[in-house]
């Protein structure tokens, strides 16, 4: 089970925010391959639904991976998609996570984004490994959560 402690959450967010600033992206997101949003840069101006964005990105990466397998290519490392105004660059980390930069093509470009990701990539991998090690060494995190009192009836009109 993946979990983040407050200090880890902060470190991740700081790193992504730094990367976002240096690469002049609109936002940088860290997603797992199952489609969960793990962390994102502090980018108040980014207004799209980041949860849905994460799900679609993971689907997109999964489909492209299946495509490249079909073509006999073993691994997908990164992907680039663009709209008229924006570039979306995605890179796989440890075959478990997806790092995404969304940038305005007037403010940045693929070259800058890739160079800056390269700069922070090692730090990010290191941080993720530390988190994984901490998770493995813990017996149970969930006793700290009381799920008993979640009332699903309140969800519906």
């Amino acid at each position: 089970m993946l979990s983040l402690r407050p200090e880890e959450d902060e470190k991740l967010r700081e790193l992504l925010t730094e990367l976002n600033r240096e690469s002049k992206s609109k936002i940088v997101l860290l997603i797992d391959k199952a489609g969960q949003l793990i962390s994102r840069s502090e980018s108040p101006a980014f207004s799209s639904d980041d949860i849905t964005f994460a799900s679609l990105t993971a689907g997109n990466v999964a489909a492209s991976e299946a495509l490249s397998k079909l073509l006999g290519d073993k691994n997908l490392n990164h992907m680039f998609t663009e709209t008229e105004d924006e570039g979306i660059y995605m890179i796989l980390i440890d075959d478990k996570y997806i790092l995404v930069s969304i940038f305005d093509k007037n403010a940045s470009n693929l070259g800058i984004v890739r160079v800056k990701i390269k700069k922070y990539y090692g730090k990010l991998v290191e941080l993720l490994r530390q988190i994984e090690e901490r998770i493995e060494s813990e017996s149970s995190v969930t006793e700290q959560i009381d799920v008993e009192d979640i009332d699903l009836d309140t969800l519906f009109e």
């Binding site: 089970m1 993946l2 979990s3 983040l4 402690r5 407050p6 880890e8 959450d9 902060e10 797992d32 391959k33 199952a34 489609g35 969960q36 949003l37 793990i38 639904d49 949860i51 849905t52 799900s55 679609l56 689907g59 999964a62 489909a63 299946a66 995190v141 969930t142 006793e143 700290q144 959560i145 009381d146 799920v147 009192d149 979640i150 009332d151 699903l152 309140t154 969800l155 519906f156 009109e157």
Partner: protein, 193 residues
């Protein structure tokens, strides 16, 4: 695999509606989406073909806060039913925390139910997920149609693990909430272990 963030106090879980094509998976999650309070839901995504059949997946994010301050987010996914989308069905199962198997009760669709169940078992195996360990609910849908199999037959052939099961008419919302609540309950229960 649930994802817990202790900083933002969020728990994220993934629930997949699995079943043969046209059994009513999209109808289930659309009904849920339409009846959830606006403040508890995000954006629904459907990736459908022109014939409105699910091409890749449908997605609904649901949020529920509890008294102790943790927010639980359920991500509901449906799979495409057609044989040719075997690959996408497998992709969607990645990291799954709970499965709702939506069966089509009509007699002529029973072979499709069985084939899809086999396909699911195979995909779970490839992800090393033990079905004995997986939160799982069965739904026998389309009970309003004339040519349906008795529930006992569906139960015997599909629900081999004696999990909770429900009869449903998803187009009318019958059995939809019961199914969702049961799978959510199981997923949360498992979190505690």
């Amino acid at each position: 695999m649930p994802f817990i963030n202790f900083a933002t106090k969020e728990i994220n879980c993934k629930i997949v509606y699995y079943g043969p094509g046209l059994s009513g998976k999209t109808t289930n999650i659309k009904w849920i989406y339409d009846h959830i309070k606006p403040e508890n839901k995000g954006e629904m995504i459907t990736l459908a073909t022109e014939t409105e059949r699910t091409l890749f997946f449908d997605f609904v994010p649901i949020e529920v806060s509890n008294v102790k301050g943790f927010k639980v987010r359920f991500h509901l996914y449906t799979t495409p039913g057609q044989i040719i989308y075997q690959a996408s069905r497998k992709l969607i199962l990645k990291g799954v925390d709970g499965v709702v198997f939506v069966a089509d009760s009509q007699e002529e669709r029973h072979d499709a139910n069985l084939d899809t169940l086999d396909d699911m078992l195979e995909n779970l195996k490839e992800y090393d997920i033990d079905i004995e360990d997986l939160p799982l609910v069965f739904q026998y849908n389309k009970r309003d149609l004339p040519n349906v199999l008795p529930v006992e037959v569906l139960r015997r052939d599909l629900n081999r693990w004696n999990r909770p099961d429900f009869e449903a008419v998803a187009t009318k919302g019958i059995g939809v909430l019961e199914t969702f609540k049961e799978i959510s309950r199981q997923v949360l229960q498992k979190l505690k272990k």
